[in-house]
Amino acid sequence: MTEHNNGLVQNKVITALLQAYLDILDYDGMKSILKEAGMLEFKDRKGTNPNEYITLSPFKKILFAQDVLLYNSFDLLYTIGKKFSFYLFPFGKSFQESIEELTQIIKTNWDIKILEKTAESINLKIENCIFCSKIDNSCDLFIGFIVHTLEKTLSAQEKVIYEASKARKKSFQLKLKIKKNNKF
């Protein structure tokens, strides 16, 4: 169960990812990824219904092009992941709601489970992750995404640090710890 051969994704997921590319890599960076993916027609997504499901294939092509072009660019991927969360889940949702929604708006053979949740930490298990790099199995974009999804629910005095442990290819556990920021 490692390939995501079938599945559906809501338009708003792709739009949020492209917006994140645009913010961090600017217009030519976003265009480079779409060109590598052979998906240049996705440059302008005005008028698409955000809640409409389309086949997973274009999304997978974009993610693979990202793996190729952003090879070894871990910090950039993490930052893009944070922006992706910002655009996909605007404020007002709990962390749990966002996580549950994620597997609804990207429907394929993957899973995210909250194993443990306390006031100071959250332990997540991600199975057959669709965002893990097909090239080196790194997953910085999705980790940035998860971290920011939690950060948005916290006060300005709190920050999130994480620890990722790879169980096997495309599956890992992510421990998020909420720390008080001493500056305040």
């Binding site: 890599l25 070894n72 950039l76």
Partner: protein, 181 residues
């Protein structure tokens, strides 16, 4: 290709002031095309090219970075994982030549963690009648900054473009312990 063929992925950056021809050099190298009209790069233009150097397969991920100052803050992140650079100036504009030493080489050394290789390129060789930077000045600067090579190119006509990229890749392969001439 022999059974011993090895494969590498190298991330390269192309650096230099705005309008020195960075994007044109890449377009010429990757697609053998040249655009007459100048369109500034917005952010980073990222292109892949797979090449064979002797018996070694190399995937080049080339980051053509915008020369404009507004990208200075985020530029450091663009350099992560980079192993080589093409430092480009325009032979018809002295200011772009001075910026190699004053800005672009410093940026590369500041942000690239591992020891990277770089080549110095004087572009727009086809505009000889407007030349403001002599070939000897480029050669001297290349030696002074310890560039692996100095080449004058014409992105418009493709002159020396392939040679410049190949020179740089060969040096990077040598830095990775490959027996490459």
């Amino acid at each position: 290709m022999s059974d011993n063929a090895r494969e590498f992925v190298f991330k390269l950056t192309i650096l230099g002031d705005a309008a020195v021809g960075k994007t044109s050099l890449i377009s010429q190298y990757v697609e053998s095309t040249f655009q007459e009209d100048y369109k500034p790069t917005l952010g980073a233009n990222i292109i892949r090219k797979d090449v064979n150097i002797d018996d070694t397969k190399v995937r080049l991920i080339m980051w053509d970075l915008a020369g404009q100052e507004k990208y200075n803050v985020i530029r450091s992140m663009y350099f992560q994982g980079c192993v080589g650079a093409l430092l480009v100036y325009d032979i018809t504009r002295e200011k772009t030549f001075a910026a190699i030493k004053d800005k672009w080489l410093n940026d590369f050394k500041k942000y690239v963690e591992q020891e990277g290789a770089y080549i110095l390129i004087g572009n727009k060789k086809d505009l000889e009648e407007q030349r403001m930077v002599k070939t000897e000045e480029g050669e001297t600067l290349g030696k002074q900054i310890k560039a692996c090579n100095f080449v004058e190119t014409s992105a418009k006509y493709g002159e020396n473009v392939e040679k410049a990229f190949e020179n740089l890749v060969r040096q990077i392969l040598r830095n990775h312990g490959e027996d490459i001439h």
